[in-house]
Amino acid sequence: MTAGGLSIRGLRVVFDGFVAVDGVDLDVAPGDIRFLIGPNGAGKTTLVDAVTGLVKASGSVRFGETELLGRDVHRIARLGVGRTFQTAALFEELTVLQNLDIAAGAGRGPWTMLRTRRAVPDDVAFALEAIGLAGRRDTLAGTLAHGQKQWLEIGMLLVQNARLLLLDEPVAGMSHEEREATGELLGKIAADRTVVVIEHDMDFLRRFARTVTVLHAGKVLSEGTVAQVQADPKVQEVYLGHAAAESEAVEA
Amino acid sequence: AKTGENETAGGVTADTSGDTVKVGLLNSLSGTMAISEVTVRDAILLAVEEINAAGGVLGKKIEPISEDGASDWPTFAEKAEKLIKVDRVAAVFGCWTSASRKAVKPVFEENKALLFYPVQYEGLEQSPYIFYTGATTNQQIVPGLDYLKAQGKKSVYLVGSDYVFPRTANKIIKAYAEANGLKVLGEDYAPLGSTEFGTIVNKVKTAKADAVFNTLNGDSNVAFFKEYKSAGLTAAAMPVVSVSIAEEEVKSIGTQYLAGQLTAWNYYQTTTGPANDKFVKAYKAKYGADKPTSDPMEAAYTAVYLWKAMVEKAGSFEVEKVKGASDGVTFEAPEGLVTVDGATQHIHKTARIGKIGDDGLITEVWNSGSPVKPDPYLKGYPWATGLS
């Protein structure tokens, strides 16, 4: 039932003369977990912004058969494209449960909307467990710690039932074990979805990436498996750093 | 048990059981109209004090109860009802703008209670429960126009605030103008409280009328006259006749801007006669030597005395009896002798045109000689048929 992959052609984003994304071609097959890496300011977040309709872009972004460019943010979301944000964006004055319930409900009809939620929907209950916040169901999201907020964001994607997930640094600020758990969760999710993850954590990348694309200055610098990319001297030059690359290689 | 406020349906009788009789004072003590109405309340209080010092009315001291209309017409209605139903006053004195009067009129009629309204107004009204102690149109506006005509003015420009009184007054002025060969070169309104008159003055200036007839009320006058002077327009070349600027307003605008301009009223602080000497002296003694007296203050002061005279003539505080006794009641007022016209419940008043002097006082340049009979519907003026 895979909905088809993500296919980007000639994507360009320009801000007042500054070219943030400069002709990117990118294909992510369904079931893949693609990691998007690259130096700070390479254009990774901007690329996701373009796909989800937050910034104007030229070129073409197709998800399955559907062209996404030019559509409103909420329409793109309804096509099954979900994302998280680099700095968590939650409804701070709603509880964890309410955050999830809202994420689950974009397709609800007016009648359902006007009624009170009587029970916790199954998918929400599942997500609460999956993100380990079942115990804090009724906590206001604004009072969660940084890492907990990241989890809640992922939970919202789960219940949103997105077919294409775009995660912007989902494990930043998480401890090692939490990263592991998150990675495993992603693995499960990816079975019938298309997942794109932006990350700077190389350990995490090595553990969970299936394929990797490296962006640099708005362009694709390198693409391939984890090993291929790590070995690429251009990537080491602009991103990994020689010392880091060596020490990490030793650790790995 | 109800909260101790007894009342009977349709017509509350005043509570005169004690040794005092209550009257209501209904004026804006806050909001944009407070600048004018507070002085009216002061004048009413002066009259009350004098009457009490002289023994009261029918042996009872007057107990004034003041309420704030807050420059807000529905509030006037609420407070009027409160004075009538809760305080059970024998009469209410107050209101300034016609809009506030229109708002309280049904309240007084429904409850068969008395209002004494002390400000010049647009006429075309005659409520059985209101006594009008300020001028109606034939006692102020028509004489003002007659005066302009006599001065040889051929054209006027009309400037007014955007509410009932100026709009209705201007309707009357236009009817008059048509019948008397006076050209109306323009007509402009500014919302009450508006203080931006650049455009209106520019229009007036380019229209090159012989005179301006001004029915602006309140704050707007200050801005209008400052703009007028700054535009190089003078009283000599293009005089302004105002019907809502009295001594109090002159004081707050400044003679710098006003000297030489005309006003139409029934009373000035400079009006001669022993009654006025006494009034001015008493007022200044109570409120300060720098406080001027003015027409609406005088009309309010007079209203209290007229009510006293009617009550004494009727021998009762009962509204219907007081009304019944009203016709022909007189009072030697600061403006001269005034007489109540029982049929219209307006009063006979002397019309006066005055010129604003450098000292901030207004001196009379013309008067009607004797009190003019009130004619709120202008029935005695052929040109006015069809106005009401």
Partner: protein, 369 residues
């Protein structure tokens, strides 16, 4: 007290409504004189407006400083009908004959002679205007202080418009001297009482409706939109529509309140719909507690009652007291009077509960981030 807080919310709601009905329908009429009861009727009209503001502002973060406009539309629609009914078929209302230069009724007045049309218009007209304006404004993402100031300007513009059309709207006077209500004589205290009961019933009904809206998923979504409009968009909702619903519902309530105000007080005028009354509506809500269901009702009645009581007792100085009340409650009791109840309750027990909701976080983010 503890028992009450642990009670099933449904049961508690029923009890609450029962108590409210008892106070409004039994206690107040028994204890208050006709004059005070008619004042209460007026306060309850303000309370109806407040319930709508509580929804739009307290829950939706839409600080609408122009509710007077909708109140006025409802009020004028009703008053036009009553004036026409007073005048009788084929006649013009008294003020038009007096000030208008018109020979016949303006075309836009004519439909209001029909009672069904007029009644429907009292609610639908404000909703329609709110829908039009809201569509424009929310779709273009005008919000926060922009929306507040804009809605305030709307109130100012509406007043100027009404005042400028004296011949057909009554100008500054408004429409006064209304003494019939669908065949009943409003001078009769019995009929005045009936009007009071209608208003009280409408208020209770709207409270029930609003309670459901607030507790529904829509209510949660509305808060979500207040907190982070953009985030909601990424979940596949169109936040403009979410806001629009709250705004239109609030406008409808204000219109209904205006319509009921007319028979209760007998006048509708620009003075009731301009900037000052519009702000006072909102202050009532803030004083009572904007996010609570009953807060706005409590606040609207308290503020209006205080205005009457203070100005009666201290005609020369009451504005100090009123101003001080606004300042103290809003600045030092952000949750309003309704939060006092919560504070008392918390002092007795001490389970951790979420911090009080303070409302306009959205603006901070928008302007300051």
């Amino acid at each position: 007290m503890k028992a009450l807080t642990e009670m099933n919310p449904r049961l508690r709601a029923w009890l609450g409504f029962g108590l409210g009905a008892l106070v409004l329908f039994a206690a107040a009429p028994a204890l208050l004189s006709d004059f005070r009861l008619s004042l209460l009727a007026k306060y309850l009209c303000f309370a109806i407006v407040a319930v709508g503001i509580g929804l739009a502002w307290g829950r939706g973060g839409l600080l609408t400083l122009g509710q007077g406009v909708f109140f006025g539309l409802g009020g004028y629609a009703m008053a036009m009908h009553l004036k026409l009914a007073d005048a009788g078929p084929g006649n013009m209302p008294d003020f038009m004959e007096l000030y208008g230069q018109l020979d016949e009724l303006p075309a836009w007045w004519a439909p209001f002679a029909n009672p069904a049309f007029a009644l429907a218009a009292t609610v639908l007209l404000p909703m329609l205007v709110a829908f039009g304006l809201g569509t424009l404004v929310f779709r273009r993402r005008v919000r926060g202080a922009y929306f507040a100031i804009l809605s305030q300007a709307l109130a100012a513009a509406m007043v100027i418009l009404l005042i400028g059309q004296q011949g057909t709207t009554g100008g500054t006077n408004g429409l006064t001297d209304i003494d019939g209500f669908f065949g009943y004589d409003l001078d009769d205290p019995v009929n005045q009482r009936m009007v009071y009961f209608i208003i009280a019933a409408v208020l209770l009904g709207l409270l029930a409706l609003t309670r459901q809206l607030m507790r529904s998923r829509y209510g949660e979504l509305l808060v979500a939109v207040r907190d982070s409009e953009e985030r909601v968009r990424f979940l596949g909702y169109n936040p403009a529509n979410v806001k629009l619903v709250a705004y239109v519902v609030a406008a409808g309530m204000a219109g209904l309140a205006g319509a009921l105000f007319v028979p209760a007080v007998g006048i509708i005028s620009p003075a009731l719909i301009g900037i000052v009354p519009s702000i006072e509506f909102v202050i009532g809500v803030a004083v009572g507690g904007r996010a609570a269901l009953l807060g706005p009702v409590l606040g609207a009645v308290a503020v209006a009652w205080a205005k009457t009581a203070l100005s009666e007792r201290f005609p020369g100085t009451w504005t100090y007291l009123q101003g001080a009340m606004f300042v103290l409650v809003v600045a030092f009791l952000p949750g309003g009077l309704a939060s006092l109840w919560g504070m008392v309750r918390r002092r007795r027990e001490t389970p951790p509960a979420p911090a009080p909701v303070t409302g306009d976080q959205a603006l901070i983010k928008e302007v300051a981030v």
